[in-house]
Symmetry: C2
């Protein structure tokens, strides 16, 4: 099965758990709207790549983990778009959930997706209780307090931001979850996979900062210039455009170097190399000065 | 250890997982504010009572379950109080979380508490993997879509409300979680315990409707008359005050009759009887007409 199809099938299977004869129909529709069609599905792609590198001996565990991780990512987007945070009208080229449905339904969509992520993982206990529990624990650590994406978003409400903690939790945490869950799903220890996730996350953060600073809303599919507007810390403000591009290359080289020794090591390095090219913002060289 | 102390210790232990050197301090404070000091802790009380009736052979499982359930209840209160839902200024006699902190921190507090509930349960896999997984699955079903408290809140955004589904998911679901988790934590099947949870939940709903209709804000510790104000379905509007009191007595009798045969059956019946007296709204008899 091609990777894209594997990801979408896993997500569709997870979403079906939240539907049902008695589900309130508008919330059910909002949950689908928030997850389908998706973005680049980059976190599940990384998760499956790590699972494959580790042998992927119980693929249904990786399937559930990939779906849970993407649902959690979608939940964070829905809540981050709310009027009290980014107040974003568009997301992935269409109206944000609170604009298309309502603010109450957007709050509930995020809540429901968080819970659905854990339900999806909990059901894998039928296949492997030990791995299921470890996957759930990893996902809670990378999403909640004190170090997950909730903490990352929480830093934006602090009078003084710890920049390191902010970036590690706001963006890197879900990439760490991707590499950890990929490893656990295939029966490997998650610890050696931490650095790869953290570095990929850091690369995405810098790439995102560059796009936010250099591109316009029509290309991004979401409002541009948000970091500047909200006074958020940003690699471009810190290092300049040229410096941010250099930093991005360094981080990606470090990510490839961090891949633990495993059967699929070379193939995974190649995937990270390809992904690195695809996330490099496509801007004219004259704008990189 | 007295029950109240057991409950508060379990909640404090769970909360400590969300704290830590790098936690953003305002979100950490908001999470504590939302959970301490608590309300009546009625759901953990029921959970422990059922666990005791089933033998409570691994008390740390019941402790984690009670904490997770109460955190989830607190999360639902924080989100329900948001301006886009009830827009409540006070809760448990003090400012609601979004009024005391901010709306972004209230959204994140709810999200963090949901995740913390699952982390608390996932950590019990060290003691018993099978029960841990079953407890997580039960909690997801009673909180998410299509039948949990998210669904219940979602019904308020529907043009036509399925009243049965609304009440089962909005209020009864967390009481079902209380009886199910109590049974699972002690190694018993949850199914025979469904009715007790559902009936206690229904009783609380009717009692809450009566209080909302009959009492004033200073006694309630939260705004009164909210159901009328928001046009929400309500047992008093449906049956009148006298009819609602009669219905409440019938439901509580049914709850006691539903208790499955178990070592602690008689003791549990007595606890439900006492709780029933305590939830009966204290209004002058002349107002019951």
């Amino acid at each position: 099965m091609p990777l894209t199809e594997r990801i979408e099938t896993a997500i569709a299977n997870a979403l079906s758990l939240a539907q049902g004869g008695q589900a309130p129909s508008r919330l059910a529709a909002a949950i689908e709207y928030a997850t389908l069609p998706g973005g680049a599905r980059i976190r599940p792609t990384i998760l499956f790549s790590v699972a494959a590198a580790c042998g992927d001996d119980k693929p249904d565990l990786a399937n559930a983990a990939a779906a849970a991780l993407e649902l959690m990512h979608c939940a964070s987007l829905v809540h981050d778009d709310l009027p009290c945070f980014d107040d974003a009208d568009i997301r992935r080229g269409k109206a944000s959930v609170h604009r298309a449905f309502s603010e109450p339904l957007a709050v509930l969509t995020g809540d429901s997706l968080i819970i659905l992520a854990f339900e999806t993982l909990a059901r894998t206990a039928e296949i492997d209780e030990t791995r299921a529990a470890r996957m759930i624990l990893s996902l809670t650590r990378r999403t909640g307090m004190p170090n997950g994406i909730c903490a990352g978003q929480g830093w934006e409400s602090e009078p003084h931001i710890d920049l390191g903690a902010y970036h590690r939790s706001k963006t890197a945490a879900l990439f760490v979850a991707a590499t950890e869950l990929g490893a656990i799903s295939a029966g490997h220890d998650p610890e050696p996979w931490y650095d790869l996730g953290a570095l990929i996350g850091e690369a995405f953060q810098v790439a995102d900062d560059l796009r936010d600073a250099l591109m316009d809303t029509s290309v991004l599919g979401k409002p541009a210039g948000q970091d500047d507007l909200h006074g958020r810390p940003n690699a471009v403000a810190q290092l300049g455009v040229k410096g941010a591009f250099e930093r991005l290359s360094d981080i990606l080289a470090g990510a490839i170097a961090s891949i633990p020794s495993c059967p699929g090591e070379a193939a995974l390095a190649e995937i990270v190399r390809l992904k690195a090219q695809s996330i490099m913002p496509k801007v004219p060289a004259r704008n990189r000065a």
